[in-house]
Subunit: 434 residues, 2 copies
Amino acid sequence: VERKDAAFIASSLEGVDPADISLLLDEADSEQAKYVLEVLNNEISADVIEEFEEDTRKEFLNELSSEEIAQYIEEMESDDAVDAINDLPVRTREEVIAAIKDEESAAHIQELMRYDEDCAGGLMAKEMVVANVNWNIQQTIEEIRRQGENVEKLYSIYVVDDNEKLLGKVSVKKIILANAKTQIKDIYDEDIKSVETYLDEDEVADIMQKYDLVAVPVINLQGKLVGRITIDDIVDVITEQAEEDMQLMSGISNDVEEDDSIWAISKARLPWLLVGLIGGTFGAWAIGFFEGDLEKNAALAFFIPLVMATGGNVGIQSSTLVVQSLANKSAFEESFGRRVGKMLLVALLTGVVLAAISFGIVLWWKGGEEGLPSVVAISLICVVMLSSFMGTATPLILDKFGINPALASGPFITTTNDILGIIVYLAIANLLLL
Amino acid sequence: VERKDAAFIASSLEGVDPADISLLLDEADSEQAKYVLEVLNNEISADVIEEFEEDTRKEFLNELSSEEIAQYIEEMESDDAVDAINDLPVRTREEVIAAIKDEESAAHIQELMRYDEDCAGGLMAKEMVVANVNWNIQQTIEEIRRQGENVEKLYSIYVVDDNEKLLGKVSVKKIILANAKTQIKDIYDEDIKSVETYLDEDEVADIMQKYDLVAVPVINLQGKLVGRITIDDIVDVITEQAEEDMQLMSGISNDVEEDDSIWAISKARLPWLLVGLIGGTFGAWAIGFFEGDLEKNAALAFFIPLVMATGGNVGIQSSTLVVQSLANKSAFEESFGRRVGKMLLVALLTGVVLAAISFGIVLWWKGGEEGLPSVVAISLICVVMLSSFMGTATPLILDKFGINPALASGPFITTTNDILGIIVYLAIANLLLL
């Protein structure tokens, strides 16, 4: 298919969505991709480039001259253009911006590049329809016509005063149903949610989700309307956030994917594995204290894994629940004490059930031999309580210090609970069996 | 504030967003909530009820008569109305539907109740603007006016033929800019993504996310347009899905939240804790086989937790990466063999690093005593390889059988790896030390 048959490529990709072409080309090499995109029209090619995975895009843009990149960039909305430019080496960035012919879009891109990628300013696009409060519907429709080319999706028209201060919005429905002479100031809706440029992307996501918004205007400190964020970008933020939390929980320290290099994946995995190793060493050291007990009764060692694993599981369960209720900030506003207290009650209930069952198992297997069933059962209750406490308190404390609490559901809590579990179990054995 | 001062409540809540009122009332008791909502106007009250947490809503609706419920239901969009009705006991449902005065919305609700909650049919709303392909713009605007009351958010107008078969869409921008006499058939866009009623909600979310859609029309098997799904419902699906995966990973078997009852939380947590307990018992039994070795050399027991914890961590890391790349279906389409092969290379690399470090630690601490450093190091490499294999293969196999692969990142893989780790470690010790 890639044998330079331009007409065939063009006709077979006609009507195919850019998102699908992008997937197809993600697997092809950069030169083939370049050839295909030259055959397609610039607007579709720009959409395809937007949809590329970050790695593919970097590699692909590397193959192009600054002028070629600029051509594609001009077809993108300003926020996507900035994302693409940020993938380039610093020198190429300057060249590309200089090569953009449309001065307005070059200015927009330069403005947006000033903002941090993770805040509202970094998510917003400059493309939107803005109406002055003193206009009438006819003038607004003219503005829509003028902006029409740039604004792909039209949801609301934002209303500003002469100083570009955001006053409110008019829905497209009202525009369609209104008379051409109607004044904007008579029909606009003052009740509008907006976000400041410096707001963190997670908070923007929370606000848009809470109020079911498809687009939110962005204002600067002076209240001036500077851009808008659309829901598709927020959906990506939410998905990324969830992936990041999951990776934190599983002890992967960088954002890697399965198709990254072996080296990148290993590097992302080693830090927490090392923490686990050090934890394991402390565990070994703790067991060392009780070497005498173990020599007297080797069966004691049999149940170390059982107690340890239960502590680990309980800790992760508790912290996940806390992390999730922290994420729904609104859902559950209890004091630290009450949360921990409740978790301890749950722990007591589950702990007693587990202890009873394990008492039965150990009794049946080993007999009453030297009180082993009681040691295992009592240890389990203590370990479940302790792990629950750690699992509940750690994310709450991390959150207080502004650290992502999902970290606490990962290897950190498991490692800590492992060591604590071993010590508790062997200490109880030591007390009861001597 | 709740001292029945109606005027005060009404004035202080004026202009407050229903989502915020809902949060406020979530904490109040049902009777107070009922009083406040009676003071507000019906439309706002309906919005507030929509935004309630499921538990609060159930409790609250319980306090109302069927007629009162019906009044609020009439103000909701059909998809939210169905969600609210589904919270009611079966008998009340019938009464409420009978009490709805608007026959059209009663019919809509009954139609939507037929669909499963987790598929496209269960997510869609009946409120949308539909234009016949033979209309002109003027007729379409009349339709928008007629539907205007019901359709809160207007994104696209769907175009159908005389048999209500979906043909395409017209953007609101085109409607605004077109001449009143323009024929729909001359300007509509045939290129439209739609979903079938039976499509699973996760797939709907994937499609909307991939193509950056804010709304997607739903068609039945005959291609007839039956409803539309808006992005706000999909954002909820994505969030819930992420929460569910996180809970699966942490071994919580029902969907519980931190503010559920102690009993509900315990019940959701016990099943996987029991699996862990049984796993621990198998582990104990495995160690029992090597009782002789342990009695000869108690120091052997010291490193059981270290080997076990490392295996557990590696398994979770591997499976999380696989689960995430399965979630981005598009991202990485490799054969089973290549995926496992790659993961084993990563495992070899990380395993060797961990082995070298642990060799150093054990050597320094225990000396060369009976080859213990080599046993720990060799075991670590084997366990890391084995756990990686399990962590990679398990989610792929679960996915093949249509089971949510996130299950494999949880206690299931940890428990399996614990037991395997113990056996590998002690077997290697047995071989090398005898």
